[in-house]
Structures are given as C-alpha cells and as structure tokens.
C-alpha cells in the first residue's frame, strides 16, 4: 500500500458528513450556523496556532524546533482555505442572526439599553466585515511571508530570509494578539454579547496555540510514520511534549482564573454565563472539558518518558484537538438557548470538518522539503540534545 496515499476512510467520512451538513442547513439554519462556527474556528485554531509557533521560533531564535518547523508552516497553509469557510460563517451569522449580537433582540437592546448602547459601534455590520477582511488579510500576508518565504528558501538558500523572518515575527506578535482577541470577541464572546470577561482573549489564545502544537505533533508523527523526517529525534519530541504539557496547564490557569473571579464576585451581569454552563445538561460537558483539556494531558504528560513517547504524544494531541472543538462548542452552542444539542447534525459536522481538516492537512504535507534545508541554523537544530 502506498503510504503517502490518503487514508481510505477520509473521503467517505467527508462525503457522509457533507450530506449531513447540507441537510442541517436546509432544516435548521441556526443549528447549522453554530456548528459551522465551532468547526471553522477549530480549523482556524490549528492553522493560526501553527503560524504562531513558527513566528515564536523566529522571534526567540530557537534552534531546536527548526527541524520540525516545516510541519507548522505547512499546517498554516490551511489559512487560505478558511477564507470561503469564514465567508459562509459570516453570511449565515449576519443574515440568519446567528451571532449573538446580530439577533433582532440584541439590535433593539443596543438602541435602547444604556449599557449595550456603546456596543452598537463595535457590532455595526460594516465595521464587523471590515475587521474580518483586515484580520484575514493580515493572516494571509503573514502566512505568505513566513511560511511561503521559508519554502522558497529551500531553493534559494538565501540566509536573508532568516533575518527577515526574525524581524517580521516581532510585529506579527502584535498582529496575532490583536487579531485573535478580535476574533474571540466577534465570534465567541459576541455569541453572548451582554457578557464580558477581560481574560477571554488569553483563554482563546491558549486554546489556539495548543491546537497548533497538537497539529504539529500529529504532523511530525505522521511524517515519521512514513519514514520521513527521521531527523526528529526523541529530544525534539520531548520539547514539543513539554510545550503541550505547559500550555495545557496554562489553558487551565486562564480558564480557572476567569471562572474563579466571576464566580466569587457573583455579579449578575457576569455570572450568568457560567450559571448556564454549570447547570442542567451543560454541567457534565463542563466537567468533561476540564478533564479532556487539563486533567488527562496533565497526567499523561507529567512523567519524563511520556513527553517523548510517540504513542502517548499522539493520544494527547488528539485529546487536545478534541478538547478544542469541545471548548468552542461549550462557548458557542449554549447561547442558542436550546439546551445541549447532540444529534446527527453534530456528528455530521464533526465528520465533515475532521475529514476536511485531514484532507487539507494531507494536501499541505507535500509542500516544500520535509526539512527547512535553507535555514542557516538547521545544523544546530539537528544536533539538539536535551
């Protein structure tokens, strides 16, 4: 069997899922909308988190991860494919009133309620569209410069690109921080537009970075499974595992900080958001989220061996990605006010978007050489020892 061929389950999964997604669109548009948000943001998390990992390496002059860098560079190649996905999401969100802030009820509230009045400026449709276009433009530009330039360097061997990437990654951090916060406010916090939490951007960022890391882990293990990227030794995997461990803890820290302050202060205008999620059918999902996103990765990666064990890492990476989707579901879907929605529609979305993500990621894995051979510091990365 040709190892570089697509896994035989992906296309049927995608096809079956797409049928279900289409059926949902015609029968239940709000449900289609929220699920679309969940999964398009899950794919965005992988792509953008990967791009952040690339920029982080350039910014900190890290050498160890140069060996692995091509994987996150390829994964960030999902970004252009997400443009139509987000175009659909924005259309459904605005025309179908699926965004919490685009519902007729909240449009009236922004006119009449004093505390919501100021939000009318931010949530004006033209401003939202302008933000979306600018943010995506900046992401695509950054992707073109960082990932595209790196792949070009394979041929040119021009060390000037490495210098440029180090300089560019500093302003990219500003772009990234602001654009992730804007995305978090528009697509996630905006689902419940009366609610606010100042740490929310950090919370969303930690999930995005974790998704990028998990995608990178899976990509590296996938390539190694095909006998490619043999240069990635247990030392490299260990550092990747350490990152995954550290940021699982960081996610828990941000999530718990957000919860503790809001729960303790008990202000009605803040606490209702958690009140929804801590009662009824959402409560088990909240516990599940804590288990999948924090407790399991923490326990599985706590030991020294676990961080470089490929099987353990693959399991944690899958948990992290599933946790990201669950996290987004847990943020978005309760705001529809229809209780826990888990039916064939959700299954269809999970199948379709997992299949789509795998298909796109698989397509990207052929881009450039497996190692960034043009990077002048590659040698230091190859000789990385713990």
């Amino acid at each position: 069997m040709n190892k570089s061929a697509l896994h035989p389950a992906i296309l049927p999964m995608l096809g079956l899922g797409a049928l279900g997604v289409a059926a949902t669109a015609f029968t239940d548009l709000p449900r289609f909308g929220v699920n679309w948000f969940v999964w398009s943001l899950a794919l965005l998390a992988v792509a953008l988190g990967s791009l952040f990992l690339v920029a982080l390496e350039h910014l900190t002059r890290a050498h160890w991860s140069i060996v692995l860098r091509r994987v996150p560079e390829r994964l960030s190649g999902l970004l252009p494919w997400l443009v139509p996905v987000f175009a659909v999401g924005a259309t459904v969100g605005l025309l179908g009133g699926v965004f919490g802030w685009s519902t007729p009820e909240f449009r009236v509230a922004m006119e009449t309620e004093h505390h919501q009045h100021a939000k009318a400026v931010w949530y004006a449709t033209p401003f939202f569209l302008a933000r979306l276009v600018v943010v995506f433009g900046l992401w695509l530009l950054s992707w073109k410069l960082l990932a595209g330039g790196s792949i070009k360097q394979d041929e040119t061997r021009d060390p000037r690109f490495s210098l440029f990437a180090k300089r560019f990654s500093a302003p990219f951090m500003w772009i990234f921080a602001l654009s992730v916060t804007i995305t978090a406010v528009d697509w996630l916090m905006g689902m419940s537009p009366r609610w606010f939490s100042t740490i929310f951007g950090v919370y969303v960022f930690s999930g995005f970075f974790l998704s990028g890391l998990a995608g990178t882990v899976l990509g590296v293990l996938h390539l190694k499974g095909q006998g490619r990227l043999t240069e990635a030794r247990p030392d490299h995997l260990y550092s990747l595992g350490g990152f995954l461990f550290a940021f699982s803890v960081f996610w828990a820290y941000a999530a718990f900080s957000q919860f503790l302050l809001i729960w303790y202060a008990n202000l009605p205008e803040e606490t209702f958001w958690f009140d929804t999620r801590l009662h009824g059918g959402w409560y088990p999902l909240t516990i599940l989220l804590a288990v999948v996103r924090f407790i399991l990765p923490f326990v599985l990666l706590l030991g020294r061996e676990g961080k470089s064990d490929p099987r353990r890492l693959r399991l944690v990476a899958i948990l992290v990605l599933a946790g990201q989707a669950l996290d987004l579901y847990w943020i978005i879907v309760p705001e529809l006010g229809r209780g826990v929605l888990l039916g064939w529609q959700e299954l269809a979305f999970a199948l379709a978007f997992t299949g789509l993500g795998l298909l796109l990621a698989k397509g990207q894995m052929g881009k450039g050489k497996d190692l960034p051979v043009g990077d002048p510091n590659l040698d230091a990365g190859l000789h990385y020892h713990l």
């Binding site: 718990f256 919860f259 503790l260 008990n266 706590l302 020294r304 020892h385 713990l386």
Partner: protein
C-alpha cells in the same frame, strides 16, 4: 580518622574522549565510575548507565500530599471547625480553596521535595564536602578538563584503576584520598548542630513561658515605653499635664462664621445680603427652598404645609406684614438658627445658599403681591437680575 585511597581521577581533553573512555572502562568498573565535567554533557547519564533518579517520585509524593493536606485542612476549617459565610457561598466552596491548594502543592513538591530531595539524594547530606573538591584536579575540572573518577578502596585497586585510565587515554591522573566509607567527605558535625537546635527551641519556649507568667517583664522596652496620649492619663508632654494646646489668641478656624451668636433682630441690623438676585441665585434659592423649606412653608410660602394634619405646628407665612418688613439679615439668621418649633438649618444649608433662599423668599412675597408693572416685566422684559447684577 585515617586516610585511605578513595578514588582515582583521569583527566580528558574533550567530552567525546571522556565518553569514549567511559565506554572502555564500563565493562570492568561499572557502577564505580563517575564523571565530573565543566558543563552538563548531553547523554552522560546514558553513557554512565545511571539509574533513574528518585527525586521525581519524591516530588510527586510530596506534591500529592500538599494537595491532600491543603484541600483537607480547608475543607475541615470551613465546613466543621469555624464556619463563616463568604459572599453567600456554601461552606464547602472548593473553587475558593484552589489557589491555596495550588500554592501548598507547589511549595511541598518544589521546595521541600525537589530541593531537599536533591540535597539528600544527589548532594549526599549530611556529608557537606567530597574529597574531589580538595583535589589538585578540581580547578582544571571547573575550567576545561573532563574527569573520569573510579572509586577504589585499596592501594592495589588504585594502581590498577590508574593504569586503566591511562590506557583509555587520560592526559593526567590523580589519586585522591578520603576518610569515610560511605561518602568520602566529612560529615556535618551532627552533635553541635543538634545541640544548637535544642538550645534554640528551649530558649524560645522558655522565653514564651516567662512572658506568659510574668507579663510585666519589658521584653521590648522601646515600644512599650513610648510617650503617647492615653485617655484619662497624664500625658506628660506639657507642664499642665494636658495633651492639647489652646490655639493662639485671635485664631479664626477654617469654615468659622463670625457673629454666629446674634439674635435675628441683631442680625437684621448688622448683616447685609451679599448676593445679587440673579437668575442663577434665584434658581439655587428655589432648589434649597424645595429641598428644605417647602414641606412646612408651602409651595407659595404661605405656611400651608404639605405635612399631615397630625403635625400640629403652624408654620409662618412669608406674606405677613411682619416678615415682609424684616431685613434680609433677620431671615438669614432664622434660617440658620431656627425659631419656635423650626429647627436651625445652619448645618444643612451653606451660607451662600441661605442668602439665596432669602432672595427666593423675597421673590415668593413679591409673586403673591405683584403689581401690574411686575406682570408686564415677567411677560417679556429683560430680567431685573441682568439689569441689577453688579449693583450690589
């Protein structure tokens, strides 16, 4: 204590040479080998075949016990021992315990577990030194030489090991003598250390009991003996025993109003309204009047109170000839001091507001007794306030 051959050292020029030498010597010497290098060398623990350190297990065990202790203690205190309601939360509010659980877990695992585990397991407390630290080779090892050490117990073993080290390419060799069987270096002088601890504990407990039994013993005299003012005691700062001084003669305190003791009649003769009846002043007067005066003196100032008839007082009407004729200063003083059953409003109404309300009272008087000229004036002429402003 007699010294004996303790270990032999071979110095090598690079980490690679050291690792090669280790590979040569391991079959014969195994666990008796130890390496000393100027910086951590990657893969050294594998080359030496070192077993996995126990520090990790100690850290985990202490971290878990920190978690259990902090969670258990807080649960016991807040649910059983000393119940206090915080913000209407249940007694068992696990979320509010988390920060302390986190801190204690980190404290026990990192400080106690990792640091003390390292001191005992790696640094071999209670040995506080090691023979190699006083060897000739030590300065070189901390600079640019990589040392392989073989522990030996007799002169014959030492000679054999030296030959083996040279055979593996050592540039220099050294035999190091030691004393103790186990760690080689001197032990911490346990008896003096323990004696010091015992003396400290006894001294602390003894002092504590002394203070409890004779609590007049001035242990910290500096803070006990300070001069300060206490109620019903002689302060001792001044000859008369008082702690407060009278102000200098003729001092006027801030916010003090002179002539406060005048009767309304005297005030009518001596005080003049300093404000002009501008629109702004009349507006202030109206606001003050409606806040404080209106309930008794009525909307029109005619003494028709808004209060229930059960209140039997009969407030004055401003439209009596008496009140129309008294000067402004008289009204001012009544607002301030009160009259008959009316309380004084001096504390509630600031001086400027009192004068403003006097103007408003005058306006009310004029409103009920308006001439044709006044009506024409109110119908569209420029306000008299604007014309009169500044003439006072």
């Amino acid at each position: 204590m007699s010294e004996r051959p303790f270990l032999v050292l071979g110095l090598y020029e690079s980490a690679q040479q050291l690792v090669d030498a280790i590979h040569k010597l391991r079959p014969g010497y195994g666990e008796r080998l130890e390496a000393y290098t100027p910086y951590p060398v990657h893969g050294m623990e594998k080359a030496l075949g070192l077993p996995k350190s126990h520090v990790g297990k100690i850290v985990l065990a202490l971290g878990l016990s920190g978690l259990v202790i902090a969670l258990g203690f807080q649960s016991w205190v807040f649910t059983t021992d000393y119940q206090i309601q915080f913000g209407g939360k249940p007694y068992f509010s696990w979320a509010s315990f988390v920060p302390i659980v986190f801190e204690v877990t980190v404290l026990l695992s990192c400080i106690v577990g990792a640091v003390f585990g390292m001191l005992v397991l790696v640094n071999k407390l209670p040995h506080y030194s090691h023979p190699i630290l006083s060897s000739r080779s030590m300065p070189k090892i901390t600079r640019d030489r990589f040392a392989l050490a073989v522990s030996v117990s007799s002169a014959e073993e030492a000679a054999e090991a030296l030959a083996a080290l040279r055979g593996a390419g050592a540039l220099e060799t050294e035999e190091v003598k030691g004393t103790d069987e186990v760690g080689g270096g001197p032990l911490l002088p346990l008896k003096p250390v323990l004696a010091t601890v015992v003396v400290c504990v006894l001294a602390g407990l003894g002092t504590w009991h002394l203070v409890r039994i004779w609590n007049d013993i001035p242990l910290i005299a500096v803070m006990d003996e300070q001069t300060k003012v206490l109620p019903y005691r002689d302060a001792g700062h001044f000859a008369d025993g008082q702690s407060m001084r009278a102000p200098v003669a003729g001092t006027v305190s801030r916010g003090h109003e002179p002539l406060a003791e005048l009767t309304p009649e005297e005030a009518g003769l001596r005080l003049v309204n300093p404000l002009a009846p501008t629109a702004e002043v009349l507006e202030t007067g109206r606001r003050v009047y409606e806040t404080h005066c209106l309930v008794c003196h009525g909307q029109l100032g005619d003494g028709k109170k808004l209060l229930s008839d059960k209140y039997t007082g009969s407030p004055a009407s401003f439209h009596s000839s008496l009140l129309k004729d008294v000067p402004d200063g008289h009204l001012y003083q009544v607002v301030r001091m009160g009259k008959n059953t009316m309380k004084g409003y001096g504390k509630d109404i600031a001086p400027a507001e009192r004068w403003a309300v006097v103007h408003y009272m005058r306006a009310l008087q004029q409103a009920l007794d308006a001439s044709d000229a006044d009506v024409d004036f109110a119908a569209g002429q420029p306000a008299p306030a604007a014309a009169q402003g500044g003439t006072h």
